[in-house]
């Protein structure tokens, strides 16, 4: 395949193959790199190793029956694809979600966002050589996994949301447990800043590396933390105000270029650190406000038969940004067509344009800073 992309006429340049089993590629990704010594002329991503035809599977399953498959769209943050699929189906069939279920969705999603960012932050530090933060972040993620296990019985692929609501209410005493954990977690994030975020070597390694301007980020369709790190405050939770997010107070962290230029790798790291703190804020509010709504009112009124006709597009702000689901029904039990638009897919597409002139080692930092998850690219 490399011959198709490059004609190696100049002798000084070499073609390198990175992946698909490179440890820092976050799954099964492959890059074909043309480099002049340490400097990259061009890096071409070759994706698709984890393609499982999720969209084709959707055409063969009933609407509720497809829910477990959505977990596999993005297994690090499965709650969001659950939510996205259920929101798309609800919009298509005109189903209202009870308030308590919406709060449970927000709580589960924000827990999942922290868990996902924990992986992103730890793995990014590890990719560029700092091993200690990874067990730190994994420890916190383990607590969240315990919580989700109590909530829905699964630690990774949750299958928790349902069309019209969620599958279970929280167990007794669960809310207090999460709050107690939050009391611990918030000081730990401050310690985490001292440990790695503001560490001199770490900052020097990442500041001013692979700067993406706001214009570039918009043009290439970057979303979520990657877009916000480029200095543009855009968050679907605020813009669309879906679910019960308008009732909750939180800020949108943006990259300010405190250590270098706006939109560099360090900004992308720091935005995620800040987002964890904001998610903790949301969690505290949501865990209090959920008590205003009656217990066990967790699934809305569903139609007797789910055989909708028409089309709908729903979006959620996932841990990797704007996740969209476009679903078309044609009066059958299965969707006629379902499409997932994911943040990692568009984030990968910018790499070919951004790579010329980078050092080989900086490419690793760039991939890590995008927080791409391979199954979300390939679906």
């Amino acid at each position: 395949m490399s011959e198709v992309i490059f004609t190696n006429e100049m002798d000084e340049e070499m073609t390198l193959n990175m992946g698909p089993h490179h440890p820092s590629t976050h799954g099964v990704l492959r890059f074909i790199i043309q480099s002049d010594g340490e400097i990259i002329r061009k890096a071409v991503p070759d994706v698709g190793y984890l393609h499982r035809s999720i969209e084709k599977i959707a055409e063969r399953n009933t609407y509720p029956g497809f829910m477990p498959y959505t977990d596999r769209v993005d297994y690090v943050a499965a709650m969001f694809s659950n939510e996205c699929w259920s929101m798309a189906c609800e919009k298509l069939m005109g189903i209202e979600v009870p308030k308590r279920a919406s709060y449970l969705r927000v709580i589960s999603c924000e827990l999942n966002r922290i868990a996902s960012h924990m992986i992103a932050l730890g793995a990014m530090a590890m990719d560029i050589g700092a091993v200690t933060p990874f067990p730190w972040t994994l420890r916190e993620r383990e607590y969240i996994n315990d919580f989700t296990e109590e909530l829905c019985g699964a630690r990774l692929t949750y299958n928790y949301h349902r069309i019209g609501g969620v599958s279970w209410d929280m167990p007794k005493g669960w809310a207090d447990k999460v709050k107690r954990w939050l009391d611990n977690f918030e000081p730990i994030m401050k310690e985490f800043d001292r440990l790695i975020t503001l560490n001199d070597i770490f900052v020097k390694r990442l500041a001013n590396v692979a700067v993406i301007t706001t214009e570039e980020a918009k043009d290439w369709g970057l979303v979520g933390p990657n877009l916000r790190a480029s200095g543009f405050a855009w968050d679907l939770r605020k813009e669309d105000g879906y679910s019960v997010y308008p009732e909750l107070e939180f800020n949108i962290p943006v990259g300010k270029g405190e250590m270098g230029t706006v939109g560099d790798c360090w900004d992308r790291f720091y935005v995620r650190v800040e987002e964890c703190k904001e998610s903790a804020k949301i969690l505290r509010q949501a865990l209090d406000k959920i008590n205003e709504h009656p217990e066990d009112d967790i699934v809305g009124r569903l139609p007797k038969k789910m055989k909708p006709e028409g089309e709908a597009y729903a979006r959620v702000e996932s841990a990797r940004g704007d996740m969209g689901c476009y679903v078309i029904g044609k009066g059958g039990e299965e969707a006629y067509r379902a499409k997932f638009r994911t943040g990692s897919f568009t984030a990968m597409s910018i790499i070919e344009a951004k790579s010329p002139g980078l050092f080989l080692a900086d490419l690793v930092a760039l991939i890590a800073s995008f927080d791409v998850v391979a199954p979300e690219i390939d679906r």
Partner: protein
């Protein structure tokens, strides 16, 4: 701006033959959409992006849908404006026998990979695309799986693409259907 106002604006600029068939929000169409003539789509999108009070600077999603009954493949573009916070959906109806339309790479760079995916899974040819290769499937894959008449091959380079149903293979009882199953 509402989708209807945008639709009227486009119709004034490009004529009723290029922009037509407006569907407003209803129980069937949960978002408003309209059709654009496939081979005029690039100037329409360029206009949507550059005009200051439209400013559609974000191509959210590009989806191909196969309708064998109507002999059409439809390319659906969801676009959004960060500044004005309005959305609109464009549909281009292509001939199923020869699905082709101009590329939108020059308008939004992100269209590059979306179009490659659409080509890979549905076989839509985007004319003028700089690098129209398969993206998710291997280069030597045959056929386009999201077409409704796609038939799965039994194997790919000796790797079987299907496996026997384990319930039938190991004669596992299904609770509720089989009395012996516990």
């Amino acid at each position: 701006m509402t989708p209807e106002a945008i639709f009227k604006r486009l119709q004034e600029k490009f004529g009723e033959e290029t922009v037509f068939d407006f569907h407003e929000v209803s129980d069937k169409n949960r978002d408003a959409w309209f059709q654009v003539a496939p081979f005029e789509i690039e100037p329409v999108c360029e206009y949507l992006k550059t005009e200051p009070d439209l400013a559609f600077d974000y191509l959210e999603s590009m989806t191909g849908v196969d309708y064998p009954d109507d002999k059409k493949i439809v390319v659906v573009d969801h676009i959004y404006s960060y500044g004005h916070k309005h959305r609109v959906i464009l549909k281009a109806f292509l001939d199923r026998e020869d699905p082709a339309m101009p590329t939108l790479v020059n308008v939004w760079s992100t269209a590059n990979w979306h179009e490659r995916e659409c080509f890979d899974l549905l076989g839509v040819l985007f004319e003028g695309h700089p690098d129209l290769r398969r993206i998710l499937l291997p280069d030597d894959w045959e056929g386009h799986p999201l077409r409704k008449d796609y038939e799965e091959k039994e194997e790919y380079h000796g790797i079987p693409t299907q496996r026997p149903n384990p319930i039938e293979l190991y004669k596992i009882g299904v609770p509720g259907k089989d009395k012996k199953a516990s």
